[in-house]
């Protein structure tokens, strides 16, 4: 019993996916990924962010077996994806970015196909549950070509879940879906996580990553530039801004305030003070005092923390070699 507990503890602490030194150069010579090292923790929601063409889909394709790595190793749930591909792939479900569906098939037939393809015995009750959870049960006999884009996206999710994977990849799952479906989908993702499924997603909606993810990875030009706990990332790289709307416009920042990192809007009505969110002493009180001494009055004051999107943009556009 002791041994079993020890094994379980070790199992839960080892990463569910481990990517080591992975490079990918396509036949045309384009290097899509450069020496990627990444560990995905068991049971987490990991968001992979990056601009278009950064290598997100290639990285997912490599782990899922769709793309062959030029070099490096990938372990999924303890199995090398090349040597032990059967065991590795059986644990993974993939929802691709594009709406690739069997247009002429019924929802039920295509989901049943997916379960079988991944080596699982038929289980109508389980598939019914998956379809009901995705509000697809009523459409089970409909041909996929008759469904809306959002419904097709649900079908792809149902297919990916048909073989009860422990790892689920969602490549841009929110692309082209309406708000309602997006909310449904995120509810489902949370439920899956609660059931122990590890989820790796890529998204363009950074607020979603901000809302959902436990950890964030940022990939740019084939390189993984940051992998960090979301809260840590936002605390570490986040900036705060204090925006003051002035009672009277100014033509420039008075000399006495030149030591402060202040920016005056073009019309002279708004003064913005940026400060580090990590700092214990923000300097706000001191600034307000100095402003009063200079007779600068303001009618409104608000402070704002930079979003993940701001951090993302600053990371991606930061010159090489300056990341922390």
């Amino acid at each position: 019993m002791k041994t079993a507990t020890a094994a379980m503890t070790a199992n839960s602490s080892t990463p569910i996916i481990s990517v080591r030194g992975v490079n990918k150069t396509y036949a045309g010579g384009f290097q899509a990924l450069k020496k990627i090292d990444l560990d995905i923790k068991r049971g987490e929601i990991f968001a992979l962010l990056g601009p278009n063409g950064a290598g997100k889909t290639t990285l997912i394709g490599l782990i899922c077996g769709i793309v062959k790595a030029t070099s490096g190793t990938i372990i999924a749930d303890g199995h090398d994806i090349m040597r032990d591909y059967r065991a590795a792939r059986a644990t993974i479900g993939l929802v691709p970015q594009e709406l690739h569906t069997d247009a002429f098939e019924s929802v039920w037939a295509t989901v049943k196909f997916s379960r079988g393809l991944f080596g699982k015995a038929p289980d109508a009750a389980y598939l019914e549950k998956v379809l009901r959870d995705l509000s697809l049960w009523d459409k089970r006999n409909a041909k996929i070509m008759t469904l809306s884009g959002g419904m097709k996206r649900r079908v792809l999710i149902a297919k990916a879940l048909a073989h009860e994977p422990t790892i689920l990849f969602l490549d841009e799952p929110s692309a082209g879906v309406d708000v309602e479906l997006r909310h449904d989908m995120w509810r489902m993702v949370r439920t899956l996580r609660a059931q122990g499924t590890t989820i790796i997603l890529t998204t363009h909606y950074i607020e979603e990553a901000e809302d959902m993810a436990d950890r964030i990875g940022v990939i740019s030009k084939g390189e993984l530039i940051v992998v960090e706990d979301k809260a840590v990332l936002m605390r570490k790289l986040g900036k705060k801004q204090l925006t003051l709307t002035l009672r009277r416009p100014m033509t420039g920042i008075p000399a006495g305030l030149s030591a402060w990192p202040l920016v005056l809007s073009d019309d002279g009505h708004v003064l913005v003070y940026s400060f580090d969110a990590q700092e214990e002493e923000t300097g706000i009180a001191e600034l307000l005092r100095t402003l009063a001494e200079h007779g600068i009055e303001f009618k409104d004051l608000r402070s704002r923390e930079s979003s993940l999107e701001d951090i993302f943009v600053s990371l991606v556009h930061r010159p090489k070699g300056t990341q922390e």
Partner: protein, 253 residues
């Protein structure tokens, strides 16, 4: 062995066949009936027997082979081309199935369908022409072997093709001419001596000759050579498919 995976592919492909039953079965049967009416009845009635077999009966094995070859190639090539074209191949590539299992599923379904069709054409022929099968076991063996071999060939075409035009080019431009020139409608004894030699480079000659032997005990080439050639082609296709999957050629980047 991922038995569930093989079954899933096989059933999925067979379901596609039954969904398009009209195009899959009725059209070839109708075309073949026309052949029997024109060649078997109208023209055949004015032709003499070939090796004591009436012309109408003589062309049956050739016509079955013609359909078997075309159907095996088109079923299997379409079967694997569609997921490539629609993008659903991602699922096949990310599934825990080996290339051999994928092959059994797709080629098995394509061959099943073309064997069913071959038997249906034989049944249709019985309406027009009386015939007997001298070696039924060998007849079935040739039917199966040819269906599997050419389904494999079709699978390769489906992997290679990157457009619907290419998909149709090989059956139309190569297989149909080879079948017509492979002795489907004549015995190669009827050709001038030089052409009798040249025609031996046509692999379809061996298939039709062997298949006809299983019906009437007459053959253009030795039966053992026919069987050997068919097996040889089967092995060539198998090795090629193995290479395709091993290298990821045209399917895995």
């Amino acid at each position: 062995m991922n038995i569930y995976g093989i079954r899933a592919i096989y059933h999925f492909e067979m379901a596609r066949t039954f969904r398009t039953l009209w195009e899959s079965i009725v059209a070839p049967v109708l075309t073949t009936s026309l052949y029997f009416i024109v060649f078997g009845k109208a023209i055949g009635s004015r032709m003499g027997d070939i090796d004591n077999v009436s012309y109408g009966a003589f062309i049956i094995p050739g016509l079955v082979m013609l359909n078997l070859l075309n159907e095996s190639i088109s079923n299997a090539s379409f079967g694997i081309y569609m997921p490539k074209w629609a993008g659903t191949i991602y699922e096949l590539l990310s599934a825990p199935v080996s290339w051999f299992e994928v092959l059994i599923g797709y080629v098995g379904a394509a061959a099943t369908k073309s064997v069913m069709l071959g038997l249906l054409i034989l049944g249709t022929a019985r309406i027009f022409v009386p015939y007997e099968i001298a070696h039924p076991v060998w007849m079935v063996a040739f039917l199966l072997l040819t269906a599997v071999t050419f389904s494999l060939f079709g699978f390769i075409i489906g992997l290679w093709a990157d457009s619907f035009q290419k998909l149709q080019a090989v059956p139309l431009l190569i297989v149909t001419p080879l079948t017509f020139l492979g002795g489907a409608f004549y015995s190669i004894d009827m050709l001038p001596p030089l052409w009798q030699k040249i025609t031996l480079f046509n692999p379809v000659v061996y298939l039709i000759s062997g298949f006809r032997w299983s019906f009437y005990g007459i053959a253009d080439v030795d039966v053992a050579v026919s069987i050997g050639m068919t097996f040889g082609f089967l092995m060539t296709c198998l090795i090629f498919v193995w290479w395709v999957f091993k290298t990821g050629y045209k399917i895995r980047h």
